[in-house]
C-alpha cells in the first residue's frame, strides 16, 4: 500500500540512473570547492587520496566478501594485530620483507579461520568474524601488553611517506590494488565464482565447483589485504599500536554499502566501492578544512551514509 504511494511519487523526482554515491560525491566536491579555497589544491587532493588508501585496501576485499553474502568484522582487529607483528618483526630483524610476510601471514591465517568457520562449519559470517575479531583484538593486547611498539627503521616509513615518479607511494599502492581487484572480479574465473557465490550457490554445486574452497579463498584474500594495510598503517604511525585500527571494518563496510554493493544476492560494484571510500575521505577532509566542530562531523558522516543508501533505495525500486 505504502509502496504504491511511493512509486507513484517517484517519477517526479526524475533521478538519473547514476548511483547515489556518485551524486553525493560530486555534490560534496562542488560545495567544498566553493567554500574552502584550499580544497582543490593539488596538495590537498593528493592528501585525500593518500588518506583513503588504507580504507580502500580493506574495502576492496570487503566488497567481494559482501558479494558472497558474507561479512568480515575481524578486519580492523586483524589489521591491528598484523601491524603489531610487523612492527615487532621489523624491529628485531630489520627486514621489511620479513615484516610484510609476517603481517600478511597473520592476515592469511585469520582469513583461513574465518573462511573455514563460514564454509565448513556453516557458522554465519557475522558470528564467525565477530569471534575472530575478539581473538585478534585480545592477541593484539596480549602481544603488546597495551604498549606501542616503536624503534621502527626509517625505510619502513618511506613506504608511506615516500614518492615514486612524483606520486606518493600510497596512491600507487592503492591504484595497483584497485586494478588487481578489478581484473580479479571482472576478468577471471574466480570473479565469476564470487559473483555466483552470492545467491547462486546451488548452481555452483551443480557445476561441480568446490565453492567452499572459493569462500575460504575470499576470506583469505581479505586477511591478506589487512596484512598489506597493516604495512601502510605501521609506516604511517612509525609504530605499532594495539588499538590503531579498531572499528575500521565498520568504516569499510559503510564505504562498500555507500558504493552501492547490496547485502543480498551478490550485486557488487567495485568502482562504487572506490567512490564510497573517496566520498568518506572528501567529507572528512572538507569538514576539517572548514573547521567544522567534531560533533557535527560525526553527525554528518551518519547522515551521509543513510542519505546515499536512501537515494539508492529510491532508484532500485523504480518500476
Amino acid at each position: 500500500m505504502s509502496d504504491h504511494a511511493l512509486s507513484a511519487a517517484r517519477p517526479r523526482l526524475r533521478l538519473p540512473s547514476v548511483p547515489g554515491v556518485a551524486i553525493v560525491l560530486v555534490a560534496l566536491a562542488v560545495v567544498f570547492a566553493l567554500i574552502s579555497p584550499n580544497f582543490l589544491s593539488t596538495g590537498n587532493l593528493s592528501n585525500i587520496l593518500v588518506q583513503s588508501v588504507i580504507l580502500l585496501l580493506l574495502a576492496l576485499p570487503m566488497t567481494l566478501i559482501i558479494m558472497t553474502e558474507g561479512l568480515d568484522l575481524s578486519m580492523g582487529a586483524v589489521l591491528t594485530l598484523a601491524s603489531l607483528v610487523l612492527a615487532l618483526t621489523v624491529v628485531s630483524t630489520q627486514s621489511l620483507v620479513l615484516g610484510l610476510a609476517s603481517a600478511v601471514g597473520v592476515g592469511l591465517a585469520f582469513g583461513f579461520v574465518n573462511g573455514w568457520l563460514v564454509s565448513a562449519l556453516r557458522i554465519p559470517p557475522f558470528v564467525a568474524t565477530l569471534g575472530t575479531l575478539g581473538v585478534a583484538q585480545g592477541l593484539a593486547l596480549i602481544v603488546s601488553d597495551g604498549q606501542s611498539v616503536v624503534g621502527i627503521p626509517r625505510f619502513v616509513r618511506l613506504v608511506y611517506s615516500g614518492e615514486t615518479a612524483g606520486i606518493p607511494n600510497p596512491i600507487l599502492i592503492g591504484a595497483a590494488f584497485y586494478a588487481l581487484f578489478h581484473v580479479l572480479l571482472y576478468h577471471t574465473k574466480f570473479g565469476v565464482y564470487i559473483r555466483a557465490l552470492g545467491g547462486n550457490r546451488d548452481a555452483l554445486t551443480l557445476a561441480g565447483v568446490k565453492w567452499q574452497r572459493m569462500l575460504i579463498a575470499v576470506y583469505m584474500l581479505g586477511g591478506a589485504m589487512a596484512g598489506f594495510a597493516a604495512l601502510l598503517m605501521t609506516a604511517r604511525m612509525n609504530a605499532g599500536h594495539p588499538t590503531a585500527a579498531i572499528g575500521m571494518e565498520f568504516d569499510a563496510i559503510a564505504a562498500v554499502a555507500l558504493g552501492g554493493t547490496s547485502f543480498e544476492r551478490g550485486n557488487g560494484w567495485i568502482f562504487g566501492t572506490l567512490l564510497g571510500v573517496l566520498t568518506v575521505g572528501i567529507l572528512r577532509n572538507g569538514l576539517n578544512l572548514m573547521a567544522v566542530p567534531s560533533s557535527a562531523q560525526v553527525a554528518c558522516i551518519g547522515a551521509l551514509v543513510i542519505f546515499a543508501l536512501f537515494l539508492d533505495g529510491m532508484r532500485s525500486r523504480k518500476p
Binding site: R122, F126, V127, L130, G134, A254, I301, F310
Partner: protein
C-alpha cells in the same frame, strides 16, 4: 490477521520445543561454569557475588532483549549503545532541570523509543538494510550527544531515582527485578501473543509473511521501537547506577549485547531465538567476565575469550539443531 497467526503458531511451537532443548543445554553450560568457578575460587559462591553477577547481567540483558526481537526479524540494531548515550544525557538534563525523576524517566524512555522508531522507519519504509541504517544512526546519535554535552558530564541525581539502579528490595538489587520483569514480559510477548508470533513469521520468511497479510512494516517499526525503548530503560538504570551521564556511556555495550543474543541461540537469519535464551546468554557472558576478574586474569584476555565463546556457542547450537 487470524490466518497469519494460524500459520505462524504451529511453526513456532515446533521451534519452541527445539528451543527448549537448546536452552537446557545453555543452562547446563551456565551451571557448569558456576561449578567450575566455585571450585577455582572461594569468593565466587557468596550471596554477594551472585547478586553482583545478576546485577551486571541485567544491564546487558536490557539491551540484548530488545535486540533479540530485532534479530528475530532478521535485522540488526547497531545504534543501541549510542542510543543509551543520548537517552541518558537528555534524561539527566530533564531530572536536573525539573527535579522530577518521573519526567526524567519519561524523557529517557521517550528518546530511546523515538530513535527506535526512526530506525524502524528507515528499515521498513525506506528499505535501507538495517545494518547500514542503524550504523548511520549510531553516528548521528553520537554527533548529537557530543554536541549537546560539549565534553561535560551531568551528575548527582535524587536518591529516589537512584533506587532503580542501586537500590535493593528484600536484599535483591532492583535491576534484577526489572530484568526478571522484562524477561517475563518479553517471553510472553514473543511466545504467547499474535504480534509476537507474527515477528517470528516475518523473520522466518518475510515474503510469505507479507502474503499472509501480516502488516510487516508496522511490526518492523514496532520491533525497532521496542529495541530503542529497551535502550532507554538501560540508559535509566545506567544513570541511576553511575549517578552521572556521559556521552559515551553505552559505547562499549553494543557488541557484548549482540554477543549475548548470539550465545543465547538466536539466528541472525531471523525466525529463531528466544528472549529467555538471550537471558541465559547474557548470564553466561557475565559469568565468564566475573570469573576472569575473580581469578585475576589479565584483562587483555577478555575479548579473546568472549570471541571464542560466541563462535563455540553458535557452532554447538547448530550441531544440536541439526540432530533434533
Amino acid at each position: 490477521m487470524s490466518t497469519a497467526s494460524d500459520i505462524a503458531a504451529p511453526g513456532a511451537r515446533f521451534h519452541l520445543s527445539k528451543d527448549v532443548v537448546q536452552i537446557v543445554y545453555r543452562l547446563l553450560a551456565a551451571g557448569l561454569l558456576c561449578l567450575l568457578l566455585s571450585v577455582l575460587t572461594d569468593s565466587f559462591l557468596s550471596m554477594n557475588n551472585i547478586l553482583n553477577v545478576l546485577r551486571q547481567a541485567s544491564l546487558l540483558f536490557f539491551l540484548a532483549s530488545g535486540l533479540t526481537l530485532v534479530i528475530l526479524t532478521g535485522g540488526l540494531d547497531l545504534s543501541i549503545g549510542a542510543n543509551i548515550g543520548l537517552s541518558a544525557c537528555l534524561a539527566a538534563t530533564a531530572i536536573k532541570a525539573t527535579g522530577s525523576p518521573a519526567l526524567g524517566t519519561l524523557v529517557g524512555l521517550g528518546v530511546g523509543t523515538l530513535v527506535g522508531i526512526c530506525n524502524g522507519l528507515m528499515v521498513a519504509k525506506l528499505r535501507i538494510p538495517s545494518f547500514i541504517a542503524t550504523y548511520g544512526m549510531l553516528w548521528v546519535l553520537h554527533g548529537v550527544t557530543y554536541y549537546y554535552m560539549a565534553g561535560e558530564t551531568i551528575h548527582g541525581f535524587p536518591p529516589g531515582f537512584r533506587q532503580i539502579g542501586s537500590g535493593y528490595f528484600l536484599g535483591i538489587p532492583i535491576p534484577v527485578y526489572l530484568m526478571l520483569g522484562f524477561l517475563a514480559a518479553g517471553t510472553f510477548f514473543a511466545q504467547r501473543t499474535v504480534w509476537g508470533q507474527q515477528i517470528y513469521a516475518i523473520g522466518a520468511n518475510p515474503v510469505a509473511a507479507r502474503l499472509c497479510g501480516i502488516p510487516v512494516d508496522r511490526r518492523l517499526i514496532l520491533v525497532y521501537a521496542f529495541s530503542g525503548a529497551m535502550a532507554g530503560v538501560a540508559s535509566l538504570v545506567f544513570l541511576a547506577r553511575l549517578n552521572s551521564a556521559e556521552g559515551d556511556v553505552g559505547e562499549a555495550m553494543t557488541l557484548p549485547a549482540i554477543a549475548a543474543v548470539l550465545i543465547g541461540g538466536a539466528s541472525l537469519f531471523g525466525g529463531v531465538g528466544t528472549v529467555f535464551g538471550t537471558f541465559v546468554g547474557a548470564l553466561i557472558l557475565t559469568l565468564v567476565l566475573n570469573g576472569m576478574n575473580l581469578l585475576a586474569v589479565n584483562a587483555s584476555w577478555q575479548p579473546l575469550v568472549t570471541g571464542v565463546i560466541v563462535v563455540l556457542a553458535v557452532w554447538l547450537d547448530m550441531i544440536g539443531r541439526r540432530r533434533t
